[in-house]
């Protein structure tokens, strides 16, 4: 597989070839999930909000899976069939250079 092929293959999996772009998208979608979650706590019968929550949570799940497969662990206890223990790898959240995001 050439480098170009690999790049195109990665694009097929997900349209975020760059770690920082993917993290940015992940943080945005997670924020949407958090916001809808709190809203649903006090509006449990709002079916439109619940539909949006379900969609956003599914999207977040996919982004998390993709990030963890490509760039390392964000959560422990996920069944990703790990071959090395990346949990303790740098950077930790307070060490990340967020200016790249």
């Amino acid at each position: 597989m050439t480098r170009k092929d690999m790049y195109e293959h990665a694009q097929d999996i997900c349209p975020y070839p760059d770690e920082h772009e993917l993290m940015r998208e992940l943080m945005e979608v997670q924020f949407l999930v958090i916001e809808l979650h709190l809203y649903l706590d006090t509006h449990p019968n709002d079916m439109e909000a619940l539909r949006l929550y379900n969609e956003a949570a599914m999207f977040l799940h996919r982004l998390m899976q993709h990030y963890q497969r490509e760039y390392g662990m964000l959560m422990a206890h996920t069944p990703d069939g790990r071959e090395e223990w990346q949990w303790i790898d740098s950077p930790w959240p307070w060490e990340i250079d967020y200016k790249k995001l």
Binding site: R24, M27, E35, L38, D41, T42, H43, M75, P93, W94
Partner: protein, 190 residues
């Protein structure tokens, strides 16, 4: 139980070392209206709140406050990297250096350590939710003071996010309070 996610809720972009700002930010790390006070207050009150909506909200907002406490810690950590004791001393952090070096410690902007006396749990749902709404407004006002003191666009951006969250939490607690009122009315026997 809780499970950690190895990422922040919102990015922290800091352009340069700023010890004065770091000192002021301790208000939200270990001050009376800090993110720490908020997290402990809500996660402690939830056991005796009567409605499921309020139990959910106190659990979820309490959890989000822990993520905000981590954001404040990250701001202070990034603003104080690689500085000398002399610079810390000049910025009014000499006492902090003496006792903590550049480690974090939950005290307020003036160095007063965090205490549980900052928070309350009456076990009365109306009183407790009013306390929570007041806490959100006090934190919102503190963020506005911090934003006025900040001249770093990255720091200001993160503080604006945190300020917005106080406004949303206030709104949600108000809705939970209305529902508790309804619940208590429906429970009365005449």
């Amino acid at each position: 139980m809780w499970v950690y996610e190895k990422k922040l809720e919102y990015p922290v972009r800091v352009s340069r070392t700023d010890l004065k700002m770091a000192k002021y930010l301790f208000a939200q790390y270990g001050g009376p209206d800090s993110e720490l006070s908020a997290a402990v207050r809500y996660l402690n009150q939830r056991y005796t709140i009567p409605t499921n909506r309020a139990k959910g909200l106190l659990t979820d907002i309490g959890t989000e406050e822990m993520a905000h406490w981590e954001i404040i810690a990250t701001l202070i950590y990034k603003l104080t990297r690689g500085v000398s004791p002399e610079h810390l001393e000049k910025a009014g952090l000499g006492a902090h250096f003496t006792q903590h070096d550049t480690a974090l410690f939950p005290h307020d902007a003036a160095g007063v350590p965090w205490t549980a006396a900052y928070i309350q749990a009456l076990g009365d749902p109306i009183a407790d939710l009013h306390e929570d709404m007041a806490a959100e407004q006090k934190a919102r006002a503190t963020y506005e003071h911090l934003i006025r003191l900040s001249d770093d666009v990255g720091v200001t951006d993160t503080l604006r996010f945190l300020r917005e969250r106080e406004v949303v939490h206030f709104q949600r607690f108000g809705e939970a309070l209305n529902y508790v009122h309804e619940y208590m009315e429906s429970d009365k026997c005449y």
